[in-house]
Subunit: 404 residues, 2 copies
């Protein structure tokens, strides 16, 4: 029997290693002899930086690995070329040399692009190596699936943190505005999740998503309207909101950098809004970015998300054992309440590079909030608490460097 | 028997309501018939905005109140005048009219200034009303006490979050710098606490505190030195670090940038350092501010801090029952390990407006880290986990508006 290899790619999530564990356990359960990990994704594979996961990680360490944030194997942002075949040949040669028959890649849109291109090349050249995508992104913007592992925990962290900030904001007996910037370039899923904080507690009064054009004048009017009945206005906004002309709101402050995929670095959206409130409304205003903790706050996991992340990895290994290739594992929702999802799969070519945004009907008419349909969708995904291992007062996480 | 009144003032902490509960229970236990709360501190008292805490909060709600962040009674930032007596007379008249004999104020430096001035005025005018200060600040900068309630939980949140960010930063196979800005204008206690993350996990490589002058050239040299042996450098810095000339670092870099309204933008401290790294070292760099969650992340409490916050409130009520006035309750450390503190009190006149900074011997010679003595001091304060009540996947908190 051939061996398997697993890689992680793109920005980590708090449950990305639960998916790694799921694939590892699924592959071992299917009788795979060796399960390799590629250190730093495709980039590490190309440098032949492989490790044996099945021998490196003891079963007693599974629990620690499951709740460790950050990509345990290391990550990369590597884009396979559109044309040419040298690098494709090189990758298949390396896999063949190690007698690897199954290739699992845990990632988001860009990573699914990698899985798609490799599976296409394998099909074209008659290679029997199977390529399976395991979904992962806090952005929840992968097509073909009800939701993505990583989103539920990030949504729970965002909603809990926004509630705590709103509770803090409530203490002042004067007009205030608190603006909280949340991850989301083109899709507002994570920002919308802040609305969950309003159910039985303090939460945002106004929510701005990249799915709708942003108007500073309308935003200021919205704030003034809330101030008619409430002193402390709490606003959540996606980092990627754009003006009607399509330019990012934050571009007046942007440093001009782009990443390897050509994506502009976005930040400063909330600061631009803060300045607008200060100069136009003159009340006390503060802005903040929730930043990196949104994708790595493993001390605040959704139990639902954690178990699904592991299950989807396990199911990926099962699908490979059945001979499938060129697919991404997906979730199909059967019911909101009681919540029930089944794990399925979809052809990767329809998924790679497609971005799924919030359905228009889930955003309110004014474009400054969400509808109950969104809450029904998101609510099940944040359910359940996870107690991570603590030592010396702090959460304990597993590091590759501690095992080697 | 006369009644008691409690107020909260200044920026909240995650355990400020545990102290409120402690005073309430202590006063009731001492036989006080009525325990009032002033809504929005002294400012609310002056407007006669009093509520009956003993009848408003049922014992079944004590648990929820204990772990609620934000000042449950609302807060204020109000400075009593140095001279004149009109407002002092007014306050004492209001207290007298409600037959209040004990005044408890939960707060930091500015709030202790209020307690001091009121107790002085009462002494000068022969008023029998007692004034007791209950310490509270995430900054840990109050004089006369080993530490302050609120610091331990904020330190735990900071150390855990920095560890998670450092774990996330580790995934990249390229030189990176992550700069994390932490609260602390003149005292680096909270930033120094990030060093606890290094014990048995990932943590900061470099730590810059306001107790030492900051040099951008030295900072860049420090980063380069760490990069010799490590790809991913993690830096923590206090918001209030200053250059040798005494100016704040965040004032120093003239970017020439303006926002959409034509205002020059004053960058944050970490942002200034980010720009220095980008332009001088040219590697991947990101900066972030931990911001408001540092003082309100009640989902991540130190059990030690929580129980001490309640105990110091209770002890304040006991001190009042013994007839004391013009004091702040304090902690005196008996031992680091096993940790043991006793609750005592100190005359308020030596405490108000004095800021306690980190002892020079607890900062390393290079001025970019702390010594083991600091760790021995801080470690006990973050011990123990607290499970707050969850409902619908989110932490539940008590709101005054829900009870009235």
């Amino acid at each position: 029997m051939k061996h398997a290899i697993i890689g992680q790619s793109g920005g980590p999530t708090a449950v990305i290693n639960a998916s790694l564990l799921g694939v590892l356990r699924g592959a071992l359960s299917a009788g795979t002899e060796r399960v390799y990990g590629m250190v730093n994704g495709i980039q590490g594979l190309l440098a032949d930086r492989l490790i044996r996961l099945d021998t490196l990680i003891a079963e007693t360490q599974y629990g620690l690995l499951r709740t460790t944030p950050g990509a345990f194997l290391g990550s990369c942002r590597y884009k396979l070329p559109e044309a040419g075949q040298a690098v494709y040949e090189q990758i298949l040669d390396i896999l063949k040399r190690h007698n690897i028959g199954q290739f699992f890649y845990i990632g988001g849109n860009d990573s699914m692009d990698t899985v798609w291109k490799l599976s296409r090349y394998a099909a074209q050249t008659g290679s029997p190596i199977q390529f399976i995508g395991i979904p992962k992104t806090v952005d929840n913007d992968l097509a073909g699936t009800d939701h993505t592992p990583g989103y539920g925990s990030a949504a729970k962290y965002v909603a809990a943190t926004v509630r705590e900030i709103a509770t803090d904001a409530r203490v002042y007996d004067q007009d205030t505005v608190s603006i909280i910037e949340i991850m989301g370039r083109n899709a507002g899923w994570l920002t919308a999740a802040s609305a969950l904080a309003c159910e039985g507690g303090d939460g945002p009064d106004l929510i701005y998503l990249p799915e709708r054009p942003f108007s500073t004048a309308q935003f200021l009017a919205d704030v003034q309207k809330v101030h008619e009945t409430k002193r402390n206005v709490v606003v959540t906004v996606s980092e990627g909101v754009r003006l009607a002309d399509g330019s990012y709101l934050c571009e007046s402050l942007a440093t001009g950098g782009t990443d390897i995929f050509g994506h502009k670095y976005l930040n400063g959206t909330a600061r631009v809004m803060e300045q607008a409130v200060r100069s136009e409304l003159g009340c006390k205003v503060r802005s903040m970015e929730l930043n990196i903790p949104q994708r790595c706050a493993a001390h605040m996991l959704s139990a639902t998300d954690l178990s699904e992340a592991e299950a989807v990895g396990f199911a990926g290994a099962e699908a490979a054992a059945r001979g499938e290739t060129g697919i991404m594992m997906t979730f199909a929702r059967m019911a909101d309440e009681p919540y029930h999802c089944t794990i399925q799969s979809a052809a990767i070519d329809g998924i790679a590079n497609a971005e799924r945004t919030i359905p228009p009907a889930w955003i309110n008419a004014a474009g400054n909030g969400i509808t109950p349909a969104f809450l029904a969708y998101a609510r099940p995904l944040i359910q359940g608490e996870v107690t991570v291992p603590y030592d010396g007062g702090l959460p304990q996480y597993l590091r590759l460097c501690d095992l080697r």
